[in-house]
């Protein structure tokens, strides 16, 4: 609270006299930072454009990542002689995820009917181009792995897993190699972060389908531990939004604690939700943080 003084009141009197006599006042008043004279920014308008991507893209990051990691789990389950149910579930998860990924990606295009223009060239320096080819090939291999007879299915599943490794990690490259500061500043973290998120969601989805293999629990536990570490790392770097925090808690410390206590199904549900929210949070963060 300010106290009126002789000086302050004299100033007000003088201001009034000046306005009465001249019809205007000469004192500049108070300058808010950067206004009206821009110095270190242009009226604090953002320099960069926000992503134009709508919900389909982060939803695809989640679905595609989970499908890719599921394909990997399927192959590892197969070679280690796990139950046929797990192998079958993993392959179907990959195939259905691939089947969902395509329409999600096509729907986000400004000109969906031109989707195939993505496949007219291959451009290694464009993560979007590399990704388009990975998605297309993964879709083919994963579908073949559930439709073809035994030996051919196994070979297809192997191809699907190899591509699945790309599916679950390239989306981090896609975001990291951009001009958006909050993404490019975390360029090394994002592929690891998204990879762990994909692995956690795939293992959790398979657990919720009724597969009780300890390996799934182990993988989801490891991913939760890593996500907890990533969460602290992001916190330390000052990358924080409410949605990232929510996604982080659901992917990291909460399922970690639940799994150590043996509450696997609740943890699995949390990890699936956490993975989905995390992807939305990262796209949202770019819209909020552009400078």
């Amino acid at each position: 609270m300010k106290v009126p003084t002789a000086t302050s009141e004299a100033q007000l009197e003088q201001l009034r006299r000046e306005a009465e006599i001249n019809g205007r006042v000469s004192r500049p008043g108070i300058h808010p930072p950067n206004a009206p004279f821009p110095t270190t920014s242009y009226y604090e308008l953002p320099l960069l454009k926000p992503p134009v991507w709508t919900w389909e893209v982060p939803a695809y990051f989640f679905v595609g990542g989970a499908g890719g990691a599921a394909a990997v789990i399927g192959v590892m389950a197969r070679v280690s002689g796990s139950s046929p149910k797990l192998v079958r579930d993993a392959r179907w998860t990959a195939a259905i995820a691939a089947g969902l990924s395509m329409p999600l990606l096509i729907a986000d295009l400004g000109r969906p009917e031109r989707f195939l223009n993505m496949l007219r060239i291959f451009k290694p320096q464009s993560p979007m181009s590399v990704g388009a080819w990975i998605v297309a090939a993964f879709g083919g291999a994963s579908t073949a792995a559930v439709l073809f007879p035994r030996k051919l299915a196994d070979i297809s599943a192997f191809a699907s897993a190899a591509l699945g490794l790309g599916m679950s990690t390239y989306t981090g490259v896609l975001l990291g190699a951009t001009a958006i500061p909050v993404w490019s500043e975390n360029v090394k973290t994002l592929p690891l972060h998204f990879g762990a998120s994909a692995l956690a969601s795939a293992a959790s989805a398979l657990e919720l389908m009724g597969n009780k293999e300890k390996a799934l629990h182990g993988l989801a536990l490891g991913a939760a531990a890593f996500e907890t570490y990533i969460g602290f790392e992001l916190e330390r770097k000052g990358v924080k939004t409410d949605l990232l925090l929510l996604g982080g808690i659901l992917s990291g410390p909460l399922p970690l604690a639940l799994r150590l206590l043996g509450v696997r199904r609740v943890a699995a549900a949390a990890q699936l939700a956490g993975s989905l929210i995390t992807r939305f949070a990262w796209v949202q963060a770019a819209k909020e943080s552009r400078k």
């Binding site: 000469s26 009206p36 821009p38 110095t39 270190t40 920014s41 242009y42 308008l45 953002p46 320099l47 960069l48 454009k49 134009v52 991507w53 990691a69 990997v72 789990i73 590892m76 280690s80 002689g81 796990s82 139950s83 986000d108 295009l109 400004g110 000109r111 031109r114 989707f115 223009n117 060239i121 451009k123 320096q125 464009s126 979007m128 490794l165 790309g166 679950s168 981090g172 490259v173 990291g176 190699a177 951009t178 001009a179 490019s184 360029v187 090394k188 973290t189 994002l190 592929p191 690891l192 990879g195 692995l199 009780k212 293999e213 300890k214 390996a215 182990g218 993988l219 490891g222 552009r290």
Partner: protein, 289 residues
Amino acid sequence: MAITGFLTDSTLCIGCKACEVACKEWNDVPADGFVFSGLSYDNTVALGHSTWRHVKFVEREPVTGHGGNSPAHVTWEFSSDVCKHCENAGCLEACPTGSIVRTEFGSVYIQPDVCNGCGYCVVTCPFGVVDRRPDDGRAFKCTFCYDRQKFGEQPACAKACPTGSILFGDLEAMQHAADARIAKLHGQGMTDAKLYDARDTSVGGTHAMFIIRGDERAYNLPSNPEVPTVHLRAAWTSAAIAAGAIALGSLVAFALTCGTAAPAVCGAADPAACDPSTAESAVPHRGRR
């Protein structure tokens, strides 16, 4: 064909917006609505899908001595912004359809008949220039009047500029003109005049250069623009590590837990199933049980 360039001189711009109008008219760019920004007299605000020239109104503390300014009035810097047509263009590198190409004039051009509106150029432009037009679905930006240049004409904005603030010509000639102009301005005492062409950054120089005064950030130009491809190595290395960890992690997880459904079935009950080397036989074996 000669490599061409723009030299936009903010010390000559009078803020008439003839360039904005000329650009809209020649290129048939749709109107972007009546907007009152509340910031300065700039109601265009930014470059975008339907704004390929944008006159910025940079207000300054009163400075006497140049252009007859009185100490009581705000000093204006106007600067007509445009796509920078980078030497290493983020949008061009990122475009997955090959829609964005380098023309014979050295400019960066989006082929509208190829663009499928994926939106990746929007987030890979370090200058915030490219944008997707919502009702059309494709990305748009300055074409450097590629069609006009094909006929040996200068771009519409340069032709319409009444003060010579927008110069167009051979890139090298423009660079020389910039050096000469800046030397002249410095000689006149305008020592904060400088060239902005991002030459010392990973962008490697721009084909649209700007003469500005003082801090480039006041013009909404980035101090250190970076072409996003500089991040590729780190990003893919990280992705490879992540992929390796997922593959190895799941291999180890299944090998250690011997692929059994529950602890009761594992280990002692059937040691053969725990050996990864006999894994192939494990599935039919369990099927028999």
